[in-house]
């Protein structure tokens, strides 16, 4: 671990220096780049401080000759690390090789056999082979050809039908519903004067601090009924919100996919806290004049993770419906009736976090025009434990105001639910190499009586994109920590929280839209959606991309150019001075602080003699696959020139080929490669 730190550390310094080079000002508008740039200029506090002159001198060296770029890495590497960690580092470098071998085990195993067979055939000679072929009888031919064909056909016929996502649409929030912090708080202050509301000045102060830490931005939206004083919470206003949200999302979806509403066979809606009669499904059928034999289900009370439950249910229905059937899944949360006007702190939290949102998803069993394939849906419900059941709990406070009580143990319980869920989904999605390691560590733990740390599988080998339910800052932080994800991986969640707030079950779809709006989705990419919700549930779904989006429109259309934004870390000291009880809730909203800038990977490229200018043009040119390939080729050539070390070449070639869509990949791999190559050299 320490070696890792030191490497990152060096990266940081040298980027800081590299950025001072006159390499052309970054004229870019690419935010991710600008952010990483800024982040590099302000190294995180957690890293050990290094004397600045030293770093500068290193940077000077690095900017002079290519050869000397290796120096700082090794110098620091050697000084900072112990021998044991060196061994660990070496193990880490061996890991890609190990993964490659294990994941392509069949190929690795079959290749020598094929070679042996070919050699054997060559030795026998063509005449002899011909004679052997002629000696075959009908029975043999039958056995060889018919039986495997029959088996294959049977398998294809009997396997469960795949379910595809044709398209999805998220509700686009409207500017007139926007609630900046100031508006929200002013409104809350005015509500304190309303008869019947027991919310008071202290509660408003508390909400102020919560909002500061929540990770929410200034553009989140609340339904129109909440803009009144007092907020309307009646049936009529709630229905109005539902109609605005779900109808506009469905309108978008139908326009996008060009299908008529009457061709939909299955309709599933989930909304947790509002279940009127007639249900949402009936409202949708009424509005779009859908068929009479449509199968409709309204799921309620299933919390924020219900979006994935609906998807799983739609899959169940689709798999037994006639081929080509279509299912419309609508996920939303109606917050109009749920404005809490009491002063119980744990119940004020949802007021600050939950915002308007909804998504409509069209699933089908036909692959035509499909954009994603649903690979897995795994659900876990840990409600059997009392603490988990009570962790998100709707109840009345002492004064009779109904609200949702978020327990302080939420993070622990979410962690347990997540553990149960990844134990279930892991074996289904992880590559063989990770599974083998996990199994070995499991056996070791059993044999050695739990002295070995359990191996945490690296889910980044199984998925390219992560859509973690934007439940709050702490949830995202906790998941990032426990799954070992990078800031890049959780960026979509943080940004969705910032732009739209916690939109409950639809938040994962906003995150998917973010990833697509950023142009990161490529064919073959795998996406993992994880939802958490009351109950306590943790559900996850794995998708595989078939086609990237055809158009850029979506909920992020107007704001994507401003994202990602840097989410500031609130000054916690002030909070403590004002009110010690805020401690209790820090765990919920700001446990680990802001988006921690990771020592950036651009840097390695900087060390390799590539300036920011290069990388900038590179990152901008990474739109088309051809451009990308050319850039990869250049990068590859450059690194090859650096290390005129022939045995390592196949390795580099391998990585350059495996780069796939992720433009960062090269740079990410490089530090370890540098060191490995240096040693070899």
């Amino acid at each position: 671990m320490s070696s890792d730190l030191s490497v990152n550390h060096v990266d940081d310094r040298s980027l800081a220096c590299a950025s001072k080079e006159p390499c052309g000002p970054p004229t870019c508008v690419d935010n991710s780049f600008a952010r990483s740039h800024l982040a590099a200029l302000n190294p995180p506090r957690s890293l050990p401080p290094v004397p600045k002159p030293h770093a500068l001198s290193l940077a000077e060296q690095s900017s002079h000759t290519p050869q000397s770029t290796l120096l700082p890495a090794t110098v620091l590497y050697r000084t900072a690390s112990m021998s044991s960690s060196a061994a660990q580092a070496q193990l880490k470098q061996l890991k890609p090789l190990y993964q490659h071998v294990v994941n392509n085990f069949v190929a690795v195993f079959a290749a020598p056999l094929v070679v042996a067979a070919l050699v054997n055939a060559a030795r026998v000679g063509p005449e002899e082979l011909l004679v052997r072929v002629q000696a075959l009888r009908a029975v043999h031919v039958f056995l060889i050809a018919f039986v495997p064909a029959a088996a294959a056909t049977l398998y294809l016929m009997l396997r469960p039908r795949s379910v595809y996502l044709v398209d999805y649409a998220c509700f686009r929030t409207r500017p007139n519903c926007r609630v900046p912090f100031a508006t929200f708080l002013e409104h809350a202050k005015l509500v304190t004067f309303v008869e019947g509301a027991s919310i008071d000045e202290r509660s408003v102060r508390f909400m102020t601090r919560l909002l500061e830490r929540s990770g929410l931005g200034e553009e989140t939206c609340l339904p129109p009924a909440h803009h009144y004083i007092p907020p309307y919470r009646n049936m009529e206003a709630s229905r109005a919100e539902v109609e605005v949200v779900i109808f506009s999302a469905i309108d978008d979806l139908l326009a996008k996919t060009g299908i008529s509403a009457s061709s939909i066979d299955i309709l599933i809606v989930n909304c947790s806290l509002f279940a009127p009669i007639p249900s949402f499904t009936d409202m949708i059928i009424h509005r779009y004049k859908m068929r009479k034999d449509i199968r409709n289900v309204h799921l309620s009370g299933m919390g924020c993770s219900a979006g994935l439950i609906s998807v799983g249910l739609a899959r169940n229905f689709l798999q037994v419906a006639p081929r080509g059937a279509r299912a419309l899944v609508v996920s939303t949360e109606t917050i109009t009736p749920n404005y809490y006007v009491g002063k119980e702190r744990a119940m004020l939290l949802p007021n600050c976090l939950f915002r308007m949102g909804g998504a409509a998803v069209l699933l089908s069993t036909s692959r035509a025009n499909a954009r994603f394939r649903l690979a897995r849906v795994v659900r876990t419900l840990t409600g059997a434990q009392d603490s988990a059941y009570r962790c998100v709990f709707q109840e009345e406070d002492a004064e009779g105001h109904r609200g949702i009580n978020l327990n302080k143990d939420l993070m622990t319980i979410a962690g347990d639910a997540l553990k149960a869920n990844i134990t279930a989904i892991g074996p289904l999605v992880l590559p063989a190499s990770e599974q083998l390691l996990f199994a070995l560590s499991f056996i070791a733990r059993r044999v050695l009586n739990r002295r070995v740390k359990p191996y945490l599988p690296d889910f980044r080998t199984a998925f390219e994109h992560f859509c973690i339910h934007a439940g709050g800052r702490a949830v995202i932080d906790e998941l990032q920590r426990s799954l070992g994800l990078s800031d890049e991986d959780v960026e979509a969640s943080r940004m969705a929280l910032h732009r739209f707030g916690n939109t409950s079950s639809s938040s994962v779809w906003y995150e998917l839209a973010y990833i697509e709006a950023k142009g990161r989705m490529r064919k073959g990419d795998r996406v993992w959606m994880i939802g958490f919700g009351s109950g306590f549930k943790c559900n996850s779904a794995a998708w595989e991309c078939i086609a990237p989006p055809r158009s850029a429109e979506g909920p992020w259309e107007e704001s994507i150019c401003r994202y990602p934004v840097d989410i500031p870390e609130p000054s916690q000291v002030r909070a403590h001075e004002i009110d010690p009880s805020i401690d209790l809730y820090l765990g919920l909203t700001s446990a680990c602080g802001a988006v921690r800038p990771r020592p950036d990977r651009w840097l390695c490229a900087g060390r390799a003699g590539l300036t920011h200018g290069h990388l900038h043009t590179y990152s901008r040119s990474s739109r088309g696959p051809l451009h990308r390939r050319i850039v990869y080729l250049c990068l590859f050539t450059l690194s090859f020139v650096y290390y005129p070390f022939v045995p390592a070449a196949p390795l580099i070639i391998h990585f350059c080929i495996r780069l796939k869509a992720n433009e960062m990949y090269y740079c990410e791999l490089n530090p370890s490669l540098h060191i490995a190559l240096y040693y070899l050299y």
Binding site: V147, K289, N296, H298, G301, G400, G535
Partner: protein
Amino acid sequence: MELLPLLTALLLAHAAACVAWMAVSRRRRSRCYLLDYACHKPSDDRKVTTETAGAVIERNKRLGLGEYRFLLKVIVNSGIGEHTYCPRNVLEGREEMPTHVDALEEMDDFFSDAVAAVLRRTGVAPRDVDVVVLNVGSFSPSPSLVSRIVRRFGMREDVAAYNLSGMGCSAGLVAVDLARNIMLNRPRTMALVVTSESCAPNWYTGTDKSMMLGNCLFRSGGAAALLTNDPAFRCRAKMELRCLVRANIAAHDDAHAAAVHREDADGRLGVSLSKALPKAAVRAFTDNLQRLAPRILPAGELARFAARLLLRKLFFRRKQQVLPASGPKINFKTGVDHFCLHPGGTAVIEAVKKSLGLTAHDVEPARMTLHRWGNTSASSLWYVLNYMEAKRRLKRGDRVLMVTFGSGFKCNSCYWEVVRDLDDAGAWEDCIDDYPPETLVNPYMDKFGWVNDVQGQGGGFVF
């Protein structure tokens, strides 16, 4: 070389056997058995007698003479008896301000009675349950009620739990449909279907007549059923599901607005039942039967119907006459032995009886259920079934048709075949001998009939 042909033959035989086995197992998996069910019987102190109902009505100071007369008329004609149950908060006089806890307690009573009973009677451990489907029409707390069941009985982490709400009185069969669909994808699945309605938070205290109807009709109740597709349970099962048809005519404006949750002019929440409801029910029922009939009726009856229809059309066309309203009718009794109708109210039962051409004997279970338990919404079906069972009407091979109506507007129906002779009295145990009673008239008219004699229309008239 004798061996090779032999081997080939063996392989082929094996392949054929495999295919046959797969087909059989697939067919078996598509079966759906009703293992057992239990209806909730609330404790006796929750009974609504004439006096209690009078007290509850009297308590509401908003009601005037006009409303009293209306209520009396509705209750007298409702077909509801003296032994229905209502939630505790109404008995304790807190119907105006129900709390969240009241609603949860009502549900807890039901869980610990019916759900526990069905698990106990079948000997299925809660950890063996793979799917739980719960539907409660108008109460959806967070965490869901289905999570509450999972917590109460300690079910597995990977249990597939679904909580349906707002689907109205016909949701009982929606839940069955959902469970059956999941079973089609999973072999050897045990599904628990829990159906109830929460009355505690939904008592209407205003004066809108269309919304006061609900208070007169809806009563506490609930049922839990265990469904399975495991062939091992076939001999223990009670019935087998043959087909299930759902119809939803929400696209039609009047039908959609037939039953709506809304606020009245004073902002009091309630379910308003419109006058268009019976019409919507008939329309939905027709749509449902159109798809159901070909699946359940014998070919002979269908051919007879088609021939008569054709003849009639030809006949009338020749004479250039307008078709009369009543055409030839399908005789559903050719394919169905028992009709398990949703006891939504006497009017609904009468309408179905008339349109299907049923006898008083056929609709007796529904009427008796309405009299004994009231309209328990989605769960009422199971009370009706239980009545038939308690009367020992269900014999092996009998076919049962269940029909439900609900807001939306929906009409769902399903068709069961009885697997063995049934004689379990269940919730009806202590009162089955009293049914059918000599008269279904309730004593409200005797006690409150004087309301009709009092002069004046009076708002503000107080006892």
